[in-house]
Symmetry: C2
Subunit: 559 residues, 2 copies
């Protein structure tokens, strides 16, 4: 309730001040004094940090670069002309100091970002005095310092060469409401060059998203080169230039880590695996069977023969190999949209299931349980926690470890049922967080052309989602956070930025700042975040005519 | 009926051949022989053309460049690997000849494109023999030759350095079903750099769109620099770097003309004119009045004081000046969304209307008739035909010239009423052709966040529009064609390409090839058009996973 009160106060105050920060910090106090960035401005690391980790040093350099190159005019009429009288007599800030509290362990940002969800420490305080004394970011981890740097870089505007803030003194004490804030990208329906993924990781870090859920392979293509399993990409990728090599993965993982982002890789099983048949036709049931709609939710049909012991152990081995490529504590085994008819029509599977002497449903369930048990046991041996899609919990009676993370995608209405089973939950529901909805259907021979998850999910709608809806208070601790998802049947590098940004910033703030935000108050800040992204080379779209963006609230319906 | 038969035949044939051409030519006969482009390939101009106009020479060079640089792999599994055996023994094409039929007048492409709608001659024939003899494009205008060059460039694919076609001999006889095929871009809600407009003109020309409807100014900003009226942009543009100078306009108009595109400029009046108040506050009623929703459909409110004689004659003068900047035979005076309440609350307007002694409605109507008569008379003197939005015909009883072009935007249901009044019509209805619909509402303080014209207009939906619906056969001749429209409350250079392409190609084919097209048969060709756009630097989006794009019809629901 306190936070809501702060928001309301903030709403009144920001009209005449600054609408800069996204996500909104836990507590924020702003003044009304301008402050200029000195030409000699530098970011110093206090002795508490010792010899700074390389990625922290890189983050410092990057922050200094953003300060100099953002060149963002303030979103007011005149783009800052009216600030001149305020800043031309303002003090100069020449130092920002990064400090770790006594007793803090000094790790790289990467190491901190890749810790298990509950162990991540992203809290920081930021103090920017109005008189030119050094600004200070204090934290108990380098990851906290990094989040503070991100916030600091959002305070500054440029007008005719002067880089200045208008709201000092600033005092911020900030920590995320939820430890998991993600973005899912599907690189299997259409391929995305590494450069586009890296740019997306940058944008994610600007709004403090800390998890890249990489749905890397699917039935349409298998672009991941896995040591020991290279044949999967050789035969299953869209083409030789459309593969993520082991070196690409290392690059992506370390680029993410240095930006406070963990990479949760997903090898969806046993469904969504037709592409495996390109290298191993014997491992896949109903491969490219037709009519595809009888065998899969999307063409081509094809699912791992999970009941075949050799295939199950091969798949477990695959997860062991994948685990070595990704330092994250979490790996997703998928588990969505299993098509039973595919297996019922598959002779090898039916022979095995029939041999059990059990009724089909029971034999199916037991074999699936063994299969998932095998992949999860491989993950456990590799030190990983498994993540699964909701069907694994709701549609089957599987023996899953208590710490399994469950992603709810079909509908937010399913959250309660997952919570009732006691699993930890990541919100990813199609009715709130699917970035691809509402853009038209992609299936051919379908003149109606609508999309299965119409309508378009607006930022406003995602932003006002209640993560705790329908839950009892003793279930609240199960909610780890949430994520926007980009399934890419109709996306590629061509529209990656505009379909993701700034919408994905809505869940980033929801799960960092907590629920209860107000779209009216948020809009000016979201404009600011979107324009800053554009200045940094990300094609985030405008939410309103520029006329409106320069005049907070004047394009509100009730103005 | 004949055309439909051809389409069905085409549908069967293309499954195993090529899905290249967009829009589909009037008649097309294809063979099954491969043909290679010779290293010495050149495009020759026959003596019938005489000394070729500069823009034709440029178009030839551009076509040769596309042939060499498109580097488009055929959209089949293997991207052309399976074509090698066919093309490695194929003949080489070393010449394409451009010929004008005897008696043809030789003008520049630009001159032909800027002719009045009914006088444009875009017809051509294209013959590409399979044996390596010269290919020939024949037409009766350079504009026809240009359309033929565009078609020719769509026949070619590249595989490992070999540029080849797979469907020769090709015989095409092509002419548009409708003379007007447009795209509207609003550069007032958000500004678009000139380079983005030029790139859009290129893409338009690739699908034979021949009209750029430039909604250049509106209430939010006035980015057009008009000689003699420079103050409008000086005060009304978003900023000094966000103005289309007279030189920019000349550049855009000539770039368009050389690509077979006419530029229809729109100065929307008397509504949508708040930005004029930045320079001339006395000319505008209810400027920025609040609540804006009482005075306008979008903020800021503000409409020209059309009843004031000085303002009316100033506006007529403005149209005279604008007419000089744009060689097109058409200029739009707009006329949509006139808010009557704005005028009822405007003392100067009411004083004038009351002085007539007529009842309000009659005085309003008469003053509006005088105002529109004045602007249209200025256009007529400048040799222009006026275009207007549908309200000018349906909501008011104005004296409009018979040749006035009427754009129907509110709903395609309104077409019949406009036809009943005998006016020529351009289809631009929001329920079929608005590219901005379904992307979420942009008005602030509106948590529902939906868009007024939901849902998203899919290419499938636009493509199956019937231009002659509800009309009697004697009204068919009134339909000049149609256009997609991009209103840019939520668009900028950030998402211009992905929001327009390939969707706008749907209306381009509908109005070139005629109605009755089938989305199932069209999809492979639209993939081809979209991928070729990407190869040429336009961020057209994928309509399906690449898996589907490489396997025509296999992602159809019924496959």
């Amino acid at each position: 309730m306190f936070r809501k009160a702060v928001l309301v106060a903030g709403f009144l105050a920001v009209v005449s001040r600054v609408d800069a920060l996204w996500p909104l910090p836990t507590t924020l106090s702003e003044g009304t004094s301008a402050l200029r960035l000195s030409y000699g401005f530098h970011i110093a690391v206090s002795p508490s940090v010792g010899f700074p980790p390389l990625d922290l040093t890189e983050a410092i350099v990057q922050t200094q670069t953003y300060l100099l190159t953002d060149d963002l005019g303030r979103l007011v009429v005149g783009r800052g002309a009216s600030d001149v009288s305020a800043f031309e007599t303002a003090a100069y800030l020449s130092e920002l100091t990064l400090t770790l509290k006594p007793g803090s362990e000094v790790n790289s940002i990467t190491t901190e970002a890749q810790k298990p969800i509950e162990e991540r420490d992203e809290a920081y305080t930021l103090s920017v005095p109005a008189n030119g004394s050094a600004a200070v970011i204090e934290a108990t981890s380098t990851l906290g310092l990094f989040r503070g740097l991100t916030t600091f870089s959002q305070l500054w505007y440029t007008y005719e060469g002067t880089i200045y803030a208008v709201n000092t003194p600033v005092e911020i004490d900030d920590t995320p409401a939820y430890p998991y804030r993600g973005l899912l990208l599907d690189t299997a329906r259409n391929y995305f060059p590494v450069a586009d993924i890296l740019r997306t990781l940058d944008a994610m870090s600007w709004v403090k998203i800390n998890e890249f859920h990489w749905h890397v392979v699917d039935s349409q293509s298998f672009p991941l080169e896995i040591p020991g399993y290279e044949e999967l990409a050789t035969y299953g990728a869209y083409g030789p230039g459309m593969v993520y090599t082991a070196a690409d993965v290392e690059n992506i993982v370390s680029y993410a880590g240095a930006r406070g982002i963990d990479v949760l890789v997903e090898i969806d099983t046993p469904g969504h695996t037709a592409a495996i048949a390109d290298a191993h036709p014997d491992y896949v049931a109903c491969n490219d069977a037709r009519p595809w709609a009888d065998f899969a939710n999307e063409p081509p049909a094809g699912q791992i023969r999970f009941a075949t012991p050799d295939v199950a152990s091969w798949t477990a081995g695959l997860f062991t190999a994948v685990s070595k490529m990704f330092p994250s504590s979490i790996v997703s085994t998928g588990g969505d949209e299993i098509n039973q008819n595919c297996y019922e029509k598959d002779e090898p599977t039916m022979t095995i299931l029939n041999a059990t002497g059990e009724p089909f449903a029971e034999a199916f369930q037991n074999a699936l349980n063994d299969f998932v048990g095998g992949t999860h046991s491989a993950l456990k041996s590799a030190g990983k926690t498994p993540a699964v899609w909701e069907e694994m919990v709701l549609d089957f009676n599987l023996t899953l470890a208590d710490d399994t993370l469950v992603l709810v995608w079909i509908s937010s209405d399913d959250v309660k049922a997952v919570a009732d089973k006691g699993f930890r939950i990541i919100h990813a529901a199609s009715n709130y967080f699917y970035l691809d909805c509402g853009g038209g259907g992609w299936v051919g021979d379908y003149p109606a052309g609508d999309s299965w998850c119409d309508p378009f999910k607006t930022w406003q709608y995602s932003y006002t989602f209640d993560p705790l809806a329908n839950l009892t208070s003793d279930q609240y601790h199960l909610i780890m956070g949430g994520q926007h998802n980009l399934w890419t049947e109709q996306s590629s590098a061509s529209n990656l930025d505009p379909i993701v940004w700034p919408r994905a910033a809505a869940s980033a703030e929801l799960f960092w700042s907590g629920a209860g935000g107000n779209v009216t108050a948020a809009l000016p800040r979201l404009h600011d975040a979107s324009f800053r992204m554009q200045q940094r080379g990300v094609n985030s779209i405008p939410l309103q005519p520029l006329w409106c963006a320069l005049r907070p609230f004047e394009c509100d319906l009730t103005w």
